[in-house]
């Protein structure tokens, strides 16, 4: 207390927080890229089940004959997995640090809290998304979970699943979480990567994050609802 000369403190544990933020941002942007790519594939079903199956097949044969079958897919999967690990680890580290930075909470409650909602959307919402991704892989990739029997064609799997209302419900809910996550995630990534340099630029970033979130949510929800309401059979 006596002087403001730096007291001896325990050294910081772990990487600098801005580095952690950057890991979250970079892996997050990779997910955005992936999600857009994924959405493009899903929309093939509007062209027809054949187009969708062809797209799914191409994912496996991408790069052939230079590369062996499924190699691109596996490289991509490994990258995704590494990104998930990095994204979750860095976010959880920051979450833990935030908890340690305020061990006594406020008794007074704020009337309007912008940050509280988004913070929850990022942290709890992020965990919900992770749970959803696990479900999604078990459902469509490994087919451990089957809704309406096994189907050889990917398009048939999709169409038969989304004909069930509660499956559409689960996916729709997940997309709302994804939308909220992107709404703040794209903004945050731009902030962390140093792109917000003026008030005008902040507006532009806000616009892009709203646009991306909207495109992704709408783009992903068109196929299931189209199936549910019988436009695709």
């Amino acid at each position: 207390m006596a002087t403001s000369t730096a007291p001896a403190r325990a050294a910081r544990k772990g990487p600098p927080s801005i580095l952690l933020k950057t890991v979250v941002a970079v892996t997050g942007l990779f997910f955005v890229f992936f999600v857009l790519f994924h959405m493009y594939g899903n929309l093939q079903i509007l062209v027809g089940p054949e187009a969708f199956d062809e797209y799914a097949h191409h994912l496996r044969t991408f790069g052939e004959p230079m590369l062996p079958e499924k190699s691109f897919l596996w490289v991509f999967r490994i990258l995704l997995l590494a990104s998930v690990v990095g994204h979750v680890w860095a976010s959880m580290s920051l979450w833990r640090r935030a908890g340690q930075a305020r061990t006594t909470r406020y008794a007074g409650k704020k009337k309007t809290s912008y940050g509280g909602f988004y913070a929850k959307a990022m942290r709890w919402g992020g965990l919900a998304l992770l749970a959803f991704v696990v479900f999604h892989i078990l459902h469509f990739t490994t087919q451990t979970i089957t809704i309406d029997g096994a189907h050889a064609s990917p398009a048939e799997r999709v169409i038969s699943s989304f004909a069930v209302w509660w499956v559409v419900g689960i996916y729709a809910l997940a997309m709302v979480f994804l939308g909220m996550h992107l709404l703040h995630g794209v903004w945050g990534a731009a902030m962390t990567l140093g792109l917000n340099t003026s008030l005008q630029r902040a507006e532009q970033i806000r616009f892009v994050s709203i646009l991306l979130a909207t495109i992704v949510v709408v783009g992903f929800l068109i196929p299931p609802f189209a199936i549910l309401f019988g436009f695709i059979e």
Binding site: S4, R12, P16, R97, R102, Y106, A190, T192, G194
Partner: protein, 250 residues
């Protein structure tokens, strides 16, 4: 005005502390929030109770010494400092919850007073331009584009009150740090140390135990000087250019 106050009372740094309720009457709408607390203290002293300790100095919104969390909001419902908040922002009969800044790098000294020397240590780490007295060239030797000078000034308006930390869900000090990095980094005089500065200050910030920014913007909403969030983005950009702390060269 008649008010019900719930105030955090804590005897010393090691005490547990608790919320205590005080009823106060005869508060003028024209008095400032701190003058309302002055009145409470006069009444407490007269009745032999220990007055509430709180920090304030200039009481005109510039020194940064005052600051309490009022009903969950740093500096209360208006965008200003606690000393410039007036009681006309409240209604007769209101219940008001008054707490100190809550952040572990700002330990409570007594009641509503906290120790913010962690901010000083962040400045010590690199929040300056090394220019020994007498070594300066003529002030007109280096023109500074007006745009840069204006942005530097905007960032330099920070009063170091700590409301950003108090309001941040992560108790991060990055708006404070970002405003200093932007202030000095926008000026030609600040370039030679720009990389080393951001690395050293960030290191100290983390050492002090502040949380990391999650870009929510609660800080800028609580900031009495309205420092924009883009200073944090500037901090991140400068940190990246400095090699994420791996090398201090810019």
């Amino acid at each position: 005005m008649k008010l019900a106050l719930k105030i955090w009372r804590q005897d010393g740094p090691a005490d547990a502390g608790q919320m205590v309720r005080y009823d106060i009457d005869g508060v003028s709408e024209d008095s400032s929030f701190l003058e309302m607390l002055d009145l409470l203290n006069e009444q407490l002293i007269t009745s032999g109770e220990d007055p509430v300790a709180f920090d304030s100095d200039c009481r005109e919104g510039i020194c940064g010494m005052c600051g309490v969390v009022i009903n969950g909001e740093a500096h209360g419902p208006e965008r200003t400092t606690t000393c410039q908040l007036h009681m006309r922002s409240f209604n007769d009969g209101d219940e008001i919850v008054i707490e100190p800044w809550r952040a572990d790098p700002f330990p409570v000294i007594k009641d509503l007073c906290v120790d913010r020397t962690s901010f000083d240590r962040i400045i010590q780490a690199g929040g300056f331009i090394s220019a020994n007295t007498g070594s300066a060239p003529d002030a007109h030797a280096t023109p500074v584009p007006k745009e840069d000078a204006d942005r530097a000034f905007m960032a330099a308006e920070c009063i170091g009150c700590g409301a950003c930390v108090a309001a941040c869900p992560n108790a991060s000090g990055m708006l404070f740090m970002g405003s200093k990095v932007t202030h000095l980094g926008e000026l030609p005089q600040g370039q030679p140390e720009r990389g080393a500065r951001v690395v050293a200050m960030t290191e100290q910030h983390d050492l002090e135990g502040f949380g990391g920014c999650t870009n929510l913007g609660e800080c800028t909403r609580a900031c009495p000087k309205g420092i924009p969030l883009n200073v944090i983005s500037q901090l991140n950009a400068d940190y990246r250019r400095a090699g994420y702390g791996g090398s201090s060269a810019d």
